[in-house]
Symmetry: C2
Subunit: 201 residues, 2 copies
DNA sequence: TGTTTTACCTAACACCGTTAGCAAAGTTAA
DNA sequence: TTAACTTTGCTAACGGTGTTAGGTAAAACA
């Protein structure tokens, strides 16, 4: 009897509509003004229904954080697959990371915004491992083709990531004030070029 | 007649005690749990009194943001004054910036935390100009002693700052998980070394 | 001493996240 | 078909938030 299945399906539909609606609110008003009551209003259910699907508000934000990490991983994979040259791969990855951040500002802020749901706990860090492996491989290749093999690749991975995040954060903070958009692209290229040059020795 | 002066003095004392109390709460419970009512309770005044001194809660946070920028500027100035060698100056500045961030975590998060009072508006950016000038000078010196003088120093300043911020943010997000503390220092040195090497050409 | 300004408070408004408890509907078994 | 049970969804509340309107009592001034 498919009754129980239909029920599960219906429950899943409510869950989905919660996420969809929440995401729409985040996109339109920013995640700071997302509220349980707004979601409930929009999906035309009462407030407590939402708590049948999510433990609390943070769990909803966390869901988006995970979505973001998965989407990012996909984009970075595609970037890496676009070429075989390790240096080119790093450049492509950096570019894809950059584009992801600004084409999905809401995701990025949710994923890395200080003080918010995701990434403060260790829980959600597993989603980062694909990223790590992705970046680590070309770095390792560049190092092995280098004279000075004493370089710590884990350290280099960390540097790469931090540099990326820094460039993006500062641009997001400055928003459209002060620094022109083309300049920001130059800053990215500059930093990544320097990083790769440094890797090659 | 000093009556009006005494009054102003008393009013200033209340203002100061608001800021002191607020800062204590921020240090003890984090800025996310700072509330007007908590401040009012602690200073033993009613809630609306606080609005005689600050337009709203954000204005209080903004005040701390400004304090933070001024303190940072002082620390960086000291760092720069510690040596005459431009490369050494950049290193010292980077070190001081790093230390400031982690010794004054609350300040740093208030200054750069996405979605919070400071630095989303253009208003508070003036406080950043000392930092800019400070970093720009040694960068310019390094460039002029370089063969390839086509390098844009404004771009380099921006890169320097972004890299710094990225390293710090990622460490703050990861907190004490995953990456050891000594490694983080290495990452900083690595990135800044690479940056300076790149500058020298 | 009466008038005006200032300081301060109570009480409210409109939100927020979260939960207890109840009513209605749907499902199952006798 | 009826009775028992489970699920679903609601109302209403609790305790919290930022913010403000309006009134009172004290202080300063004429």
């Amino acid at each position: 009897m498919g009754i129980v299945e239909r029920r599960l399906r219906q429950k899943d539909e409510v869950r989905s509509s919660i996420l969809e609606t929440a995401w729409q609110i985040v996109k339109e008003e920013g995640w700071q003004s997302l509220s349980i009551r707004k979601i409930a209003d929009a999906i035309e259910y009462s407030v407590p229904v939402i708590y049948d699907h999510f433990a609390n508000k943070e769990a909803i934000l966390l869901e988006f954080g995970k979505q973001g990490f998965n989407l990012l991983a996909k984009k970075l994979q595609q970037a890496k697959d676009s070429t075989d040259d390790p240096g080119g791969q790093l450049k492509a990855i950096a570019d894809a990371y950059w584009n992801f951040a600004f084409r999905n500002k809401e995701y990025y802020q949710l994923m890395f915004g200080l003080g918010i749901a995701c990434c403060e706990q260790e829980k959600c860090l597993p989603e980062l491992t694909p990223f790590r492996n992705l970046v680590m491989e070309p770095i390792n290749k560049l190092i092995t083709s280098n004279k000075n093999k004493q370089i710590n690749s884990c350290l280099k991975y960390h540097t790469f990531w931090s540099v990326m995040h820094g460039l993006i954060s500062i641009k997001m903070i400055n928003n459209n004030t002060e620094v022109a958009d083309e300049l920001n692209k130059l800053v990215l290229d500059d930093a990544i070029d320097g990083f790769i040059k440094n890797l090659k020795g």
